[in-house]
Amino acid sequence: MEYVFSYVTTEGAVRKVNQDSLFIAEAAFEDDKVLFAAVCDGVGGLSSGEKASGFVCKRMNEWFADELPELLRCSASVLKIRESIDDRLHELNDSINSYAEKHASDMATTFTGILIIPHMNVLLTAHVGDTRLYKITENEIKILTSDHSVVGQELRNGTITEEMAEKDPRQNQLTNCIGAGLEDTSYDYSISEFSKGDCYMLCSDGFRKKVSADELKVALCPSANKDEKTIRSNLEKLKNKVIQCGEKDNITALMVKLC
């Protein structure tokens, strides 16, 4: 399996700091390549948000470099791999909380990551917060994660409709994330199927709020994204459009195409 990927990230038109973080890492294992990519959207005053999101990205990247090879070498099952990620995320949760307590600040971050291990035929997603993972094929665009936000929760409960959700003023209220003093949390994991030609896009809430799913599909469908350059220019175009539409938040998106 080969991967083509690119990303955009910007503090946006209004904010002075970019609290979003992202990483993409690729590694060769036996005759194939393993990929790990994630997007984090930091939350917190002053510079705490970017510290939290940057810290999580850094430590998860270390997990990919240090722990995963060992797990793959002893041919651990996907259950073991998930457990290892889960342990790491909870550990990060604890360290962010204790750091925040010491410095008397609020810190939190969302996390949405995908791990693709072709020889095990596994695409594992780990997710918390309102960053999203989209899967885009020629015919459809699908959201593979569920938003851990007040609006997302009410939408799932059926108390508000999709139109109401778009206009809801509580867009930025999260129900679950890493940090924020949460001690009793669980994160979402899932295994899904994948095949060559599929596109996966991870983004922060700033990227997706002002564009419709159809617009995303047209711009990001596999046939319109042949190489790194086209992916990058398509993401840039969307980003500019989002800013023109008046988005004030940080904007981050990352796309991977499997080929």
Binding site: V78, R82, D184, S190
Partner: protein, 451 residues
Amino acid sequence: MAGNITTKLLYQGCDTFLQAVLKKRDKINEKQLQFINGNTDKGFLNARWEKTATRNVLKYNVSNMTALSEYIKQTMPQDKYFAILSQFQKIVEFCMSATIPYDNILLNDLKNVYFDVEKQKLYVAYLPLLENGYRSANMIKFLNKLNKNANITITNGTVMQKYSFFLEEQMNAQKDKGGFISPKSLHTVLHDVLMVPEAAEQQLSSNAAPVNIAAAEVKSTAPADDDSDHTILVNRNRNADCLAFLKDENNREIPITRFPFTIGRRPDNDLALTDKGTVSKEHAVITCSDGSFYIEDKGSANGTFLNNCTDNAKRISKEQLNSGDVIYFCDVPYVFTVNASDSATVIVGDKNGAAARKADPAMAKKIAYLVNSSSKERIPVFVYPFTCAELSGLIIGRENNGSRHSIFIENISCPSLSVEGCEVPSGEKTSIFSGCNFLYHGIVYTFYEEN
């Protein structure tokens, strides 16, 4: 051509069916079908024959019953085990005397035999076929499996040992006889050698009597007879008249016969959860006014919750109930269901009984589901811990492990279970999440959580 018959469990409306899929060329014996449906009190499951364009199926109504494979997992006293065996012996004897082939009793798997906990009665699925081409009645294997899997509190070791010897002897002697044990020799072993009292006779006749009498009798004897398995008495006839009912984790239905309907630990409550320490003496009450149902907490110590039992769930004080809502009396879940016969949305099936009934409203509130990869059938999971007859021997539950919640799958007594390629030996559990595949008796199931 001997082959195993495939069976699966179906949920239609508020009923559960065991469905046996037949080959297109199988011919039904109408007389036998009528005969077994006329003799359900002898221990035959009520059967319905359905012929569709693509296949023929037999549907056995097993609502409110527990698969024998499940039932024998709970510890039971030795005499109860033998009472079940002697009920089985009675059924085979009845087949002999009625000259219908005992070969047609579906015994290939313990999960195809059902036990009505309320009536303490065993039911078998009978295949009313003109020519039976299935490998269905290896009686000795069946008894062996039963003996191996049952969780018996042994009170008389000699008797148990003798019975085991008997099984072993039969196993060796009858290798080429298709595993048949004549009911007479079984009778001899049970009653003459092992001295099991012939209690079944009386029980059978009392069950044949009108249901309300039978229920009254069970009510009076049940507490003394069996306090280990926390039986809640359910009279199925009454369910048809009541406005709503509560379903417990084992799908047993508790009719809500009057309002206010009280729930609590004290035995004088309408639903008395006497063995649940987390439930208060007077925990909650279900009321009805202007056609709506309400659940009200009676100042319980640990709270009542609706559709959410996680740690940050909100206690409720008074809340309107909808059919399918899951009520948690602290951590004890019950599904509230408005009786289907009172609900206008239920479309009753046509004469052939084609599946035109609207799905059970309880299913709409499911929190997760399992997909059987070979039949593509979805099994809804609407309450944890979850068990079902199709997946007998395993439990899917939720646990709180320090700071994390997780869903796990636990192997209670299943000889072959693996999750994502890892063996899960009996007695152990492993945590699972959305998208996980597990292999159960050679069939792949996938677990999905609802978003």
